[in-house]
Structure formats: C-alpha cells, structure tokens
Symmetry: C4
Subunit: 213 residues, 4 copies
Amino acid sequence: MDREARLREWEERAEPYLLAPSLLFLASYAVRVLIPDLSPGWQAFWGLVTVVTWGAFIVEYLARLLLSKHRRRFVRTHWLDLVVTVLPLLRPLRIIEIHDRMQRRRDHPRLALEARVMTYAGLTSLLLGFAASLAVYHDERLAPHSTITTFGDSVWWACSTLTTTGYGDVTPITPRGRLTGTGLMFVGVALVGAVVGSFSSWLVRRFRVDGET
Amino acid sequence: MDREARLREWEERAEPYLLAPSLLFLASYAVRVLIPDLSPGWQAFWGLVTVVTWGAFIVEYLARLLLSKHRRRFVRTHWLDLVVTVLPLLRPLRIIEIHDRMQRRRDHPRLALEARVMTYAGLTSLLLGFAASLAVYHDERLAPHSTITTFGDSVWWACSTLTTTGYGDVTPITPRGRLTGTGLMFVGVALVGAVVGSFSSWLVRRFRVDGET
Amino acid sequence: MDREARLREWEERAEPYLLAPSLLFLASYAVRVLIPDLSPGWQAFWGLVTVVTWGAFIVEYLARLLLSKHRRRFVRTHWLDLVVTVLPLLRPLRIIEIHDRMQRRRDHPRLALEARVMTYAGLTSLLLGFAASLAVYHDERLAPHSTITTFGDSVWWACSTLTTTGYGDVTPITPRGRLTGTGLMFVGVALVGAVVGSFSSWLVRRFRVDGET
Amino acid sequence: MDREARLREWEERAEPYLLAPSLLFLASYAVRVLIPDLSPGWQAFWGLVTVVTWGAFIVEYLARLLLSKHRRRFVRTHWLDLVVTVLPLLRPLRIIEIHDRMQRRRDHPRLALEARVMTYAGLTSLLLGFAASLAVYHDERLAPHSTITTFGDSVWWACSTLTTTGYGDVTPITPRGRLTGTGLMFVGVALVGAVVGSFSSWLVRRFRVDGET
C-alpha cells in the first residue's frame, strides 16, 4: 500500500516533467534526420540529446517497475508504457494519460465530449504522422528507386495514409519503411476514424439542438 | 450590452447579403483560373471583383471585431470567421451558420435530422471540392511533369480525394497543390464521413419503422 | 381521393411486374456491351429489348404522373423515380421500395434489422457495381491509352471503387467513364458505409448478448 | 431430440480439437507457398498434412450434417461452415463461434465489450490477411509483369487493402489473385470497420467517464 501510493505519487509528479524529454527526443530525432550534413559538434550534441532522453524514459519505466508491488501485473497493465519506452517515436500515444490527469484536476471540462475526443485523436495522429514521416524519410531517402526523396514527399505520403486515401504516387519500398507504413495505417486509421465519428456525432447533435429549439 | 446587441443585429442582417459576395468571389476566381486567356479588360474586371469581395469580407470581420466588447474573446470564439476571411475559398464552411439562422426563423424543420446533416455536409463538401479543384488546377496546370493538365483531371482528383478512394492516377506535385490536397483530405474526409454516417442511420431508421409497423 | 387511390393500387400491382423489365434491360445492355460482335439479327433483337423495356419505364412513369392529382408534388416527392427512368442503369436503387412493399405484406420480418440493412445495401451496391462496370467497360474499351481493356479489369476497378480502396492500377480516362466513376464513388461509398456500419453494430450486439447471458 | 443433443455435444467437444487442424492447415499451406524448393520428402509430408487436415474438416462437416435431423435446415443455418469447409483458408471466420463457446463457460467476461469486438475482428482480419497474402503470393509470384514478386510485397498489399488505403504500387494482375483481392476488400473492410467503430466508441466512453467523475 505504501509502495503503491509512492508509485502513484511519482507518476503524478513525473508525468508533466516527462512531456519535455518526449518533445526533446522528437526534436533531436527530427534535427538529425532533416539536416543530415550537420557539423560534427552539433551531430554529437543532438546524438547525446537522443541518448539522454531515451535513457530517461528507460530509467523512469524501470523505477516504476521496481517500485510496484506486483511486477508481473505492472507489465501487463502498463503494456503501452513498455511499447513507448522501446519505441519512443510512439510516445504521442501516451498523451491520453497526461490528458486524463490534467482533466481530473479541473472541476468542469471546458470542451464538449466530441471536441475532446477530436482534440485528443487529432493531436495524437498529427504527432504520429510527423514521427512516421521522419522515420520513413530516414529509411527511404537514399534507397535506390525510392519515390520518397524529400521530406515533403514523406509528409504527403503520411497524410494520404492517415486519411486512407492512399494515392500511391509516393510509397515506401524498403522493408523498414513499409513496416512503419503498416503501423501508421492501422494506428492512424483507428485514430482518424475516431475523429470522423466524433465530428459526425457533433454535427448531428448541433443540428438536433437547432431543430428542437 | 448595447454594443453586443448591435453586433448581433449586424450579424443577423449582414449574413444573407454576404452570401452574394461569397458566390461572386468564387465566380471571379473560377473565371480567372478556367479562362486564362481573357481579354485585358475582362481580366481587370474579374480581378477587381476578387479584390472588392475579399475586401468586403475583411471590412465585415474588422467591423464586427471593433464592435465587440471583448475583442480577444471574439477572436477565440469566431476563429472560423478569421480563417475564412484570410482564405475566402474556405467560405463554404460558414454555410452552417447561415443555415442555423434560417432554420431558427422557421417553426418546423421540413427535413428529417439525417437529411439536414446530409444536405449541409454534402453541399459544403461539394463547394469545397469545387474550390480545391480550382486551386489545384491553378497551381498544377503549368508545372513540369504535372499529371493534372485539364480542369476535368482536377475535378476527378478532387472526387477521388473526397471519397478517400485515392486512385493516384492524377495527383498534385507542387508544394502548394499538395497543401490544398492535404486540407481537402482532412476536411473532406470528415464531411463525407458525416454524410455516410447520416445516410446509414437514415437507412436503419427507415428499415426499423417498416419492421415495426 | 379516387384518383390517388387508383394510383396507389396501380403502384402496388405494377411493382413486381416491373422487376422483370428491369432485369431484362440490364441483361440486354450487358449482352450488347459484353458481346460486341453479335450477328445482326441478335443485335437487332437485343436492341429492341433495350428500347421496349426503357419505353415501359417511361410509360409507367408518365401514367403515374398523369394519374396523380398534384403533378408538381408528384415530381418532387418521386424524384428518384424520374432519375431511374432517365438512367435505367440506376434502377437497382429502387429495390428499397419493392422491398418495403414485400416487407409490409409479411407479418413478422424474418431477418434482424442489421441483416435487412446489409442485405438491401449489399444487393444494391452489387447491382450498381455491375451496371457501372458495364458502362465503364463500354466507354473505355476502345479509348486510346485506356487501362481498362477487358470486362475483368472493369469489375476489378468497380470493386476497388466501391470499397474506397482505389488502387488506381486501372482507372477510367474518358469523360463519360469518369462521370460514371464519380457517381459510383459517391453512391457506392454511402451504401458500403451502411453495410459496414450495420455489420459493426450486429457484431457489437452479438457480443453484448453473449456477455450478458 | 436425442440426435440433436448428440450433435450439440459433438460440436461442443470437437470445436477446440478442430482449432489444431485449422492452424496445421494454414501452416502446411504457408510452408508449401513460402518455400517452393522443398526437398521431395518434405514436400510430400506437408502435402499430406494439407490433405489430411482438409479431409478432417470435410468429415466433421458431413458427420454433423448426417447427425442433424433437419438436414436442409442444417445447411441453411450453417452456411458459413460449408464455406469454410470448401475454402479452408477462410477458417479464421469461424473463430467467432469458438469464442462464443469459450465465453459462455466463463461467468464474467474479463474484457469490456469494445475490447472483445476489437480483439475478435482484429484477430480475424489479421489471419485472413495472412491467408490472402499467401494465396495472392502463390498466384502472382511467377505471373508475367507481376508487381508482387516477394512475400513482403504480398503482405504490404494485404495491409493496404485491409485498411482500404489501396496504394496500388503492388496489385494482383491474375484473375485468381484479383478474386482473392476482391474477397479481402469486402470481408476486410467490414472487419476493420468494426475495429475502428469499436475503438472510436471505447475512446468516447473513456472520455465520458473521465468528464463525469
């Protein structure tokens, strides 16, 4: 009980401070991918930022794992935490927990239910789309016969994937790029589906209210 | 209180009159994009129409901003008005407010809830698709290696984008064309999703009524 | 009142008999499109079938229009009838009315609500997909640089359009083919969306019942 | 009554044991497709596994058909069983019945409704996607002008089909491959639609609970 309480306390306190390394990690990854011809000094600096922030995630996860009483159960119930610790580019998926905590502190939610779902799902898919664009651009940039040669191509591909439009004028061809693409398709489809569904239900509610008054 | 009331009054009165410049703006943009080899006189005329109508939107927005008591709050709550003032091609998105006002004047809505959602979302996506076709055709027409060479190609691309089919046989390749395309994907996907959802719920309701009676 | 009653009676009686010419029309169109090198005799025969069945649709529509008291209102409330009379390939859309009438005669519907929606929307989209495949194959078959050269290509294109997959390996390039394609996208998207929605709700209901008992 | 009871008993008992041959059938098919240059001995062995497991399905179906009192009704109500007996690659679709039976034995379901729908629909679509990848790879591998030359291409195609993204960079071109593709589009679209819908409703419920407490 004592330990679990301490763990909860730690989680509540650490969460907002972990948002900063999450953004730092994404920034360092973005800089290293988008500016390949950095001077050696900057390259070392941003490499260090990547390693340190990733290290912070691992330390935080292990600390919580050791603090918890039932470690096996901790791993099972916090499986998303393990995933985002191993693949920090998926960190945006954890926004929902931060959002939950912030929401609880306020007394009255400011936004309607649909608006909150749209905000959460929209933001998460935007961040995931950006992370996937970076990863795919990194893998495809120098591959022979690749159609993704600029970061703009990669963002265009990510947008057409997230909305399931799938033009196919630019597509990843390397195995790692396609693995990222498959992940983006499934995760993105679900998130964008949630945005569309919430928008649709918000629209229906808006029209219903107008019709009745 | 006095000022806010005057603002409301202005909004109620100005709205129907602003529909005309909206259509005029779209018409002048369409003429200038679709008929590039106009005589200098007509070119100047339609250019003037574009400038005057756009100016009217800006004047109207600023007037309402100045009339409002809490200007900061006005900008926050009327953010869509700011967007459609800066990018008048997105004006169709404001139809919902005009629709709301017209609906309130009538006592009984003539159409079922689903039909109204479908009409609104369908009309908006049609107008946005037309505006996007024009903008993309304007950007892609003369770009080297472009696949969009006629206005028909552009409309075909817009339709396959709005329904998320995304054939990819014709796609924008210029940065501005792709920016328009990205916007159309996200806005369009949400609107068409609303149409499909409403149609589906209308169909289910129709079958339910038949089954029970 | 007398006239309206006679009109209703006519509609009730004529409906099942009109299913036959609908299928005959589709069959004659299919034969003429799929077997272009018919002997002159057969060509004349199937051409006659097309003309006679189409004529029957027009006669039936006009008869109902003349029998109705409020002709203007008849045109407005029966707009789908006008559409399917002018474009008989869209006849499958009228299945819903035949289905309604048959349903009313029975006391208890045999299928669950979702199953009925899925059956109706699935059948209609299959028939429309078949009609669109025929129309597109007819228009594209001999067009220069066309990618749709066999009826199989056309069916493959129609399937990838109806499900909004949109591979884009085969796509119509003629204006008429693209017009058909646009129609199939919008109508098909709505119908397949209804099928998916009903399937999803049926699945949820099935799991809910299992969980509660 | 006696016979029907015996049939039920048989079904309840045989079901878990039939999961093993289902997986064995899939494994033997996978091995024979993915490793075409097996030694003759292994080829004969895996061929035998395919034949024996398929035979087991047929025997089980016939046994149940013969045991049932109303054979005609059995065929009508168990049509899915007939389909998966003729095309054993579609076996994953029967998971729902096994799942149902297992669910009934437990007193309290461990997962929320949405999680169960997502698990079932997600698992089924994954298995079907794998089976379709194998079948399409088998048909397309040696076809002239085929774009699907490795199993990776086939999996990439199946993923982009299941999510209705449909890039179209790799697509089946043989009639049998396209038939498999059409089936995957329709079945997959419905299953993935169910996953997206459930995820969306779970997300809404999660936000609603947070907002109210």
